[in-house]
């Protein structure tokens, strides 16, 4: 992984700053903001390749453009959904927001300040305030740690509570997610999938975060367990006034719990706006295709024409609009010029040539 730290205020390659990041409602300031952020991954060339490159006989290894010039703002108290298919860059974007990956270009702002300029106490404050919940409740818990250590580790390491209050804080975090305090001495393997999810959430809540970045937090759970965990997320939101970035491919879930939603395709946001409006009147052809493809319980032997093709490789994105090879209404312009995100209605933006034609 190679990542050059961006100089402050650097302009992202190929994407000029847009005045209003997303939406038109500026009444509440964004708690987190992503400006022109890109994340590229490249394999380090092996020795033989470096030699060949030096004498001009080989090209550098290909670069995966996982996230490309993305602007995103998460307002205090809202639940922002981030939707897309596997490989679209939604998890990478979530990790940029949570500070797990530094962006290759562009910047992440926390409460108005560039994250990469934060140091010491302020940087720690950001890292603790923005907590991540991971998809796999098995892989994201250390199997050799007991629950109290998993939940209490950050509290102890950063000395967030006095040593004699640590146990009480751990018990509070466990109670918060509906786990019995008597579980504190158990190991992760002694729990069901739903309980493990709760342990992961308790670990995040223990440090009193303001923002939870949830990457497919219930995708690995059974339906009846999913609803328990989703209800927990909703309760916690009210109890702790949390802000969420909710990454999911489950559009039913996004509709249920999110206030706004951003749809990603091949590293870029193609549409965003209030959830209810986007689900009722999707503007971008990809959003339409995505919504159309979701099976519905109310659908009976529904026959629909599915969108053809697959997500192209981020190693070799198509020219122009990345969606044009799959788009039913693509024109010559779509094949040549990449559409910029533009306001299409109050609080709504989309990147599609067809929409600006009127």
């Amino acid at each position: 992984m190679s990542a050059a730290g961006p100089s402050q205020g650097a302009r992202p390659p190929g994407g000029e700053r847009r005045a209003a990041p997303i939406g038109g409602d500026h009444t509440s300031a964004p708690v987190l903001e992503v400006r022109g952020a890109s994340k590229h991954f490249a394999r380090r060339p092996v020795l033989a390749e470096r030699v060949l490159m030096a004498i001009g006989r080989a090209k550098p290894p290909p670069v995966v453009r996982a996230v490309e010039a993305v602007d995103l703002a998460i307002r205090r108290g809202e639940v922002l959904g981030l939707v897309g298919e596997s490989g679209c860059g939604k998890s990478t974007l979530a990790r940029l927001v949570a500070g797990i990956h530094p962006p290759t270009a562009g910047e992440v702002l926390f409460e108005g300040r560039a994250v990469n300029s934060l140091e010491g106490r302020e940087r720690l404050d950001y890292l603790l305030a923005v907590q991540m919940i991971f998809q796999d409740p098995f892989a994201s818990l250390d199997p050799r740690m007991r629950v109290h250590r998993i939940v209490g580790e950050a509290l102890a390491v950063h000395r967030l509570v006095p040593a004699n209050e640590l146990n009480a804080a751990i018990d509070r975090a466990l109670a918060d997610v509906g786990l019995d305090a008597t579980y504190r001495d158990r190991f992760p393997h002694q729990f069901s999938g739903g309980q493990r999810s709760r342990i992961g959430i308790a670990r995040a809540l223990a440090v009193k975060p303001r923002v939870l970045v949830c990457d497919e937090p219930v995708a690995a759970l059974d339906v009846s367990i999913q609803s328990q965990v989703i209800n927990l997320f909703m309760d916690l939101r009210e109890r702790h006034a949390l802000t969420y970035l909710f990454v999911s491919h489950n559009l039913g879930l996004v509709r249920l719990i999110c206030d706004r939603v951003a749809i990603m395709y091949l590293g870029r946001i193609v549409e965003s706006g209030p959830v209810a409006e986007i689900f009722e009147r999707p503007a971008h052809p990809y959003t339409k295709a995505l919504l159309e493809a979701i099976p519905r319980i109310s659908g009976r032997k529904r026959v629909f024409e599915p969108v053809p093709g697959e997500l192209p490789s981020p190693l070799a994105p198509p020219s122009g609009c990345a969606f044009h090879p799959r788009c039913p209404s693509a024109t010559a312009e779509c094949r040549q010029t990449r559409p910029e995100l533009r306001a299409i209605a109050p609080a709504r933006i989309a990147a599609c040539h067809l929409l600006t034609k009127g």
Partner: protein, 326 residues
């Protein structure tokens, strides 16, 4: 009116572990006819996959099918010798699994393994087998099929691999297809394409399709009939419209309520509390009773008998009446 294509009666599959036998499938009855799609729905551990494997005789020790009847086109598969099952599998009965990477042979090209599946079951020359493979790939929506035949599985995307697995299953024009979560690992747009192809295939070939899944919405769109499994048993079965519009079993009701449907925007999901019992700790009486809001003392003591009327089956002491909330 002849007997259905596949008829399963009282199927019981146990796993022998530490001196005890735990029933993963505990008395399952199923039937399906040509041109029909049956959705077999359940959460992890409900026994839906083991049911599918038991039907085609793919249960290995420590698992064992200990009771029941599996009648396929008049033939009793439970008593059929292994050689006969081998003959049927991949020919008249096809299976599609969740993970195509484990189904496909990584060291053979797509064409080689598809041709092998043809030549194993019928007399044909290699050229004809490759031609059939190309034709079948095209039928599941793969463009430039000829070129794909010369590629290895690792060169294909996940959606493409699953299409290859589906095409391989379809090569010999099976009468019965058992598909175990075939689209669970795929993205929705790819899932949409595959559901579309499967609907078309069932319509055209009149194959019987058993679609094993945890996803009620997929079943709603694809299936004619649905069977809901819980803890090794079918707790409710009937036509999709009957079961999904008027569920009688509290578990079905709970499942339906806990799915966030795209058309709904609420604040809280109805939830089923607790977790499904493990194989080795199923409660006495109704297995769902500890999680059931309607359960009474008798539910915890007496196993509910199956009540059947006109193809609608329910296994509950206190089934929901039409229009009744849970």
């Amino acid at each position: 009116m002849s007997a259905p294509l596949l008829e399963v009666r009282g199927l019981r599959t146990v796993f022998h572990l530490a001196d005890a036998a735990w029933a993963a499938v505990d008395g399952v009855d199923l039937e399906i006819d040509r041109g029909e799609v049956l959705g077999l729905v359940g959460e992890s551990g409900s026994g839906k996959t083991v049911t599918g494997f038991s039907i085609v005789g793919l249960i290995d020790p420590p698992g064992e099918v200990i009771a029941g009847e599996v009648r396929f086109d008049g033939e009793d598969l439970r008593r059929a010798p292994e050689a006969r099952l081998r003959e049927l599998r991949g020919d008249r009965i096809a299976m599609i699994f969740q993970d195509p990477l484990t189904t496909l042979n990584p060291v053979l090209t797509v064409g080689e393994q598809m041709a092998e599946a043809v030549l194993e079951h019928r007399r044909a020359d290699k050229v004809a087998a490759w031609a059939l493979a190309a034709e079948t790939l095209a039928r599941v929506g793969i463009a430039s099929a000829e070129a794909r035949l010369r590629q290895f599985p690792h060169e294909l995307s996940g959606g493409m691999r699953q299409r290859v697995a589906i095409a391989t299953a379809l090569l010999n024009k099976p009468d019965l297809i058992i598909a175990d979560e075939p689209t669970t690992a795929l993205d929705v747009t790819i899932q949409g394409q595959i559901l579309f192809e499967m609907q078309k295939l069932v319509r055209e070939t009149r194959a019987a399709l058993i679609w094993i899944t945890h996803d009620l919405a997929v079943v709603a769109e694809l299936a004619d009939r649905i069977a809901v499994m819980y803890a090794g048993r079918i707790v409710e079965a009937g036509t999709v419209a009957e079961v999904l519009d008027h569920p009688r079993h509290p578990y079905t009701r709970g499942l339906l309520d806990s799915v966030p449907d795209v058309g709904v925007r609420g604040r809280r999901l109805a939830q089923i509390d607790g977790v499904a019992p493990r194989l080795d700790s199923r409660p006495a009486g109704c297995a769902f009773a500890p999680r059931c809001p309607r359960a009474t003392g008798s539910c915890r003591e007496l196993d509910p008998p199956e009540k059947a009327e006109e193809g609608r089956r329910t296994r509950c002491h206190y089934p929901l009446l039409p229009g009744e909330a849970r």
